[in-house]
Symmetry: C2
Subunit: 222 residues, 2 copies
DNA sequence: TCCTTTCGCGAACGACGTTCGCAAATTAGG
DNA sequence: CCTAATTTGCGAACGTCGTTCGCGAAAGGA
């Protein structure tokens, strides 16, 4: 029953007792939970509790927990809105990435999902279609375009992930350790970089960073 | 006791009953386990079993499971060997990334670790120092250099992660779904890309991809 | 009405991370 | 040598997790 991806499995049967809930409701509950308490709060029991039902009931809608994660990821992919392309591939792909960052800011758990599972459902396929159509006619091998898609997603996810965890205890401990290493004299470059970074962070550097990366991937600079 | 990162906590006490094992042994056992059975096999109980001891004993060496993951990650960072720089930053950073890919090919679980918790221990600090020294004198803000470091690691991890899971059941199911979507006519670009990719994969495209990305990040093309 | 099919879900299983408390092992001080 | 102080090893237990099983309840078609 589940040797196929969830998107091709029928949601409800036409006969028998009708279902009281839907995949969409489960997805919404899981996303609400994750937005509030993080990804590890998305357990079968807690999603079920969010819906006022029993944990075992979820298995009527979903083969396992990973299916729920796939539903969540694809639901966020559906949040993209596609403006008419400008004709400049670098600008259009950068805009796509910037929009992705905005989505990930709404869902701080999304970067982890994108980085570790990279699954594409219907909305993910639409996104990829859009990406490829921006690149239509561009002299780059199909494989390279697909790599670029993966790379763009990874770059956005990486940035969003860092941003979302910038003030966690874990990162603070980590930074304290690096500062200590920098202070002991054995890592002069690290010390210099730390000193230069000490000031307040300025405006959103992401679009510039991303467009450099995109330009690099599309350009023939190597 | 554990409001500090593991690298600054003393490993053994001078007095009292001497410890029978060391962090290094635990790290080696965990890495062996992960190399053999994957990251999720690295549980307290199984690492302990690998060492012929009890699970609770590990907490004398480590505050929690995440500490073990940090030890593992830093142990792999120690596998880098730093050749004398050539003077060309793009080439030197690309070489660093290519070496990182080789390390990740030896440890297929490493990409996931690098992507989800970017933690730097002593060997990680050495790696970052090397990265920054290659970029010494380069006209790029310190923040941008640190972003570039994170981005390089992410790119390498992403590529290695895809490579390592390319023939998992999960990816096969995923590819079958995308092929089905491509076949139904609603995603022409996807279909075209699939057709163009059907042939056998040629040689290792990674150095070229990576050097384009690095050049993009370092260049002033935006 | 009854039969077939599906659904809801309590109960249970095994594995997980982590804590507690105590016995064993060692060193420091007398 | 003995004792006190200190640290280690770890069995047992707690709460949570994903998942399975089996059964009673609910609906539609004959």
């Amino acid at each position: 029953m589940s040797d196929e991806v969830i998107w091709v499995r029928p949601e409800h049967s036409a006969v028998g007792r009708p279902a009281e809930r839907s995949r969409a409701e489960i997805t919404a509950a899981a996303i609400a939970l994750a937005d509030r308490d993080g990804l590890e709060a998305v357990s079968m029991r807690r999603v079920a509790a969010e819906l006022g039902t029993g944990a075992a009931s979820l298995y009527r809608y979903v083969a396992n927990r990973d299916d729920i994660l796939d539903l969540m990821a694809d639901a966020t992919a559906a949040e993209y809105v596609f403006e008419p392309p400008s004709g400049d591939p670098v600008a259009d792909l950068t805009a796509l990435g910037v929009q992705g960052l905005a989505i990930m800011r709404r869902h701080p758990w999304l970067p982890e999902l994108v980085m570790t599972r990279a699954s594409l459902g219907p909305a993910g396929a639409d996104l990829l279609e859009r990406f490829l159509s921006v690149l239509d006619g561009h002299p780059l091998a199909a494989t390279a375009k697909l790599e670029a898609f993966a790379m763009l997603n990874a770059a956005v996810a990486m940035y969003a992930h860092h941003e979302a965890h910038a003030d966690s205890d874990y990162v603070r401990r980590q930074a304290a350790y690096l500062a200590r290493v920098a202070a002991d004299g054995s890592h002069p470059m690290l010390a210099a970089a730390f000193a230069a970074t000490a000031g307040p962070a300025d405006a959103d550097r992401f679009p510039a960073l991303l467009s450099r990366i995109v330009a690099g991937m599309l350009g023939s600079s190597a």
